[in-house]
Amino acid sequence: MAMITYAEAFIDGIHSVLSTDPLLSLIGRDILGGGVATREIERKLLRDFPDRIIDPPTSEQAIAGLGIGAAMAGVPMFIHFGTGSFSLEAFNQLVNEAGVARYMTNGQLKVPATFHMFHGVRGGGAAQHSLSPQSMYANAAGLEVVLPSTPHDVKGLIRTALRNANPTIFINHTRILDVVGEVPADDYDIPFGRGDVKRRGRDVTVVAFSRMVHRALEAAAVLAKEGIEVEVVDPRTAVPLDEESICASVEKTGRLVTVEESIQSCSVGSEIASMVAEKAFRSLKAPIVRLARKPVPVPYSPPLEDFITPLTADIVAAVKKAVA
């Protein structure tokens, strides 16, 4: 066990699969976002596997297509897009090629490719560098969607993504790259569709992914002082979704708050709310509360950014609404 950062755990996970799969190849530069500190962490990959990492031109469509074709031809691929906003350049490839190839060939061809991007408000990213596209991908059949929140989880989840035979959209967040946590040194996989209860509580279920898990935990600490015990459920993967864990928690608490960084309309949180209303309705003691970014493109100026994004205080308020 070691205390390492999310960034280090992510790179360790990739490194461990590069070590055992001689064909796995990476395309992209600055896969940790390009900061000075993260470049140092990433250097480990370049040092040990210089011929397995290609620095591409700014050609998202062709890079995605190359990744899909290579994966189909038996070479597992990791493709880095930069921010989720840029991944939309390759949306056609992801939805209409990666997501459908196994189905259209009736299982004869597979796409063992992982598509990596950063989502969410990074601070000053403005409208074209701050998208949270998870529900766009979750609403396209044939794509797995993964959003880790902790160093422990990201290592196990990236290993699963790189080693499984499905096209996986792997979404990180630049603001949690320096989160520190306990990570086993050995190689382990976390299966998709298995959520994790990050904090047990009896009063309200808060479902969150990615950076919002950390804000939810901060809100839980604040609320605990007022005698409200929050259970934070981190599904870790939006597709496949661990419906059972979410419903089991709501059956215990009777109250649900969803919190996320995309806007509300047709979001993953909205899907979770609908699913719970459908499958755990009789357990609900209060209306479901959904919290998301305000439905505007993301503004640049910090106070505006804060205004449109769920902050810890907003989560506290949402939980109080659920117990009112």
Partner: protein
């Protein structure tokens, strides 16, 4: 460099093109009879490039086809019964009725997913070539693109990537753009090949109706691609007039292969296409002239081909539809 094909190669080339031709004619007949729900795109007239390539590929080579795929999979050895069945949406189809006529795909013959996204096959082929490069076993990838893909941005990215990474990919372009009627591409370049040339790809233009000329050009090119030089070959084609409208289709519906050696008998509104642009007739003429095959032998081969396809079609029509639950299979694994 070889400057002619052996008698066996000529016969194989012709047999493959004839199979492709009669297959697509049978598909059009079948769709008339069944009330087509898939809207097939015929490969008629485009037989030359893939037939020539099929003499040069290895089992480990990878091909990427488009919505105009029937000739491609047929030439590479897909079972016509399973192609018919796929077009009809039956369980015995090449892909179990899941993909249909615009996506015929034979992975066991080297095909990656058949994409109907214009330019999609170029990207998959670049990926396949990347994989071949990683595997270091001398395999190549071929994109069986049409000129229409030069209208899409992804194609420029793919040509650039192939050139930058020295990928073993052959872009084998069937160029049947035609000004006058609605062209299949609208390019501001003086010549289509100006585009790959601008990205430092070696190029060649050949008569797409002359399967032998294509083969002779490809012998050296495929070898160079295997060694890591991406190449762009333009096969100039005249679009089959039967694509235009029902009247033309009716006039050209069933090829009379004797017009190959009985040129005087060519008449009608599409005489020019039959004389200059039909690759099947062109090769038939040469086979008879050179006495590689007699006219009688050609006609016998034709009857045999059509009989076999009639049988294939019947077996496809007897194949059941997939069970409804099959719609849920093969999303993830």
């Amino acid at each position: 460099m070889r400057n002619d094909l052996s008698a066996d190669q000529q016969r194989t080339l012709f047999a493959r093109m004839l199979l492709m031709r009669r297959f697509d004619e049978a598909v059009l007949d079948m769709e008339d009879d069944h009330g087509s729900f898939g809207r097939s795109v015929a490969s008629i007239g485009n037989e030359g490039p893939i037939a020539a390539l099929s003499l040069l590929t290895r089992p480990t080579d990878l091909l990427c086809s488009t919505h105009r795929n029937h000739g491609h999979v047929t030439a590479m050895g897909a079972d016509p019964m399973r192609s018919f069945a796929e077009i009809l949406g039956r369980a015995d189809g090449l892909t179990g009725g899941k993909a249909g006529t615009l996506h015929l795909c034979a992975p066991d013959k080297g095909f990656l997913s058949t994409s109907a996204m214009v330019g999609g096959a170029n990207a998959l082929a670049v990926g396949a070539a990347f994989a071949q490069q990683r595997k270091k076993a001398g395999g190549i990838a071929v994109s069986l693109l049409g000129d229409g893909t030069l209208d899409e941005g992804i194609t420029y990215e793919c040509l650039n990537l192939a050139s930058l990474l020295s990928l073993p990919v052959l872009f084998l372009c069937e160029n049947n753009a035609k000004a006058g009627e609605r062209p299949s591409s609208m390019l501001a370049a003086k010549a289509l090949l100006d585009v790959p040339r601008a990205l430092s790809l070696p190029t060649l233009s050949v008569d797409g109706a002359d399967a032998e000329a294509i083969y002779l050009a490809l012998v050296d090119i495929v070898d160079r691609v295997r060694k890591g030089t991406p190449y762009f070959v333009e096969c100039r084609l005249e679009r089959w007039p039967g694509m235009r409208n029902h009247a033309s289709r009716a006039q050209l519906r069933h090829t009379d292969i004797s017009l190959g050696w009985d040129r005087a008998a060519i008449g009608g509104p599409h005489a020019a296409w039959l004389t200059d642009s039909d690759p099947v007739l062109k090769l038939a003429e040469r086979l008879v002239e050179r006495r590689v095959m007699t006219a009688d032998a050609l006609l016998a081969l034709d009857r045999e081909t059509m009989a076999r396809l009639r049988d294939d079609r019947a077996r496809a029509e007897a194949s059941p539809f997939p069970a409804p639950g099959a719609a849920l299979e093969h999303v993830f694994g």
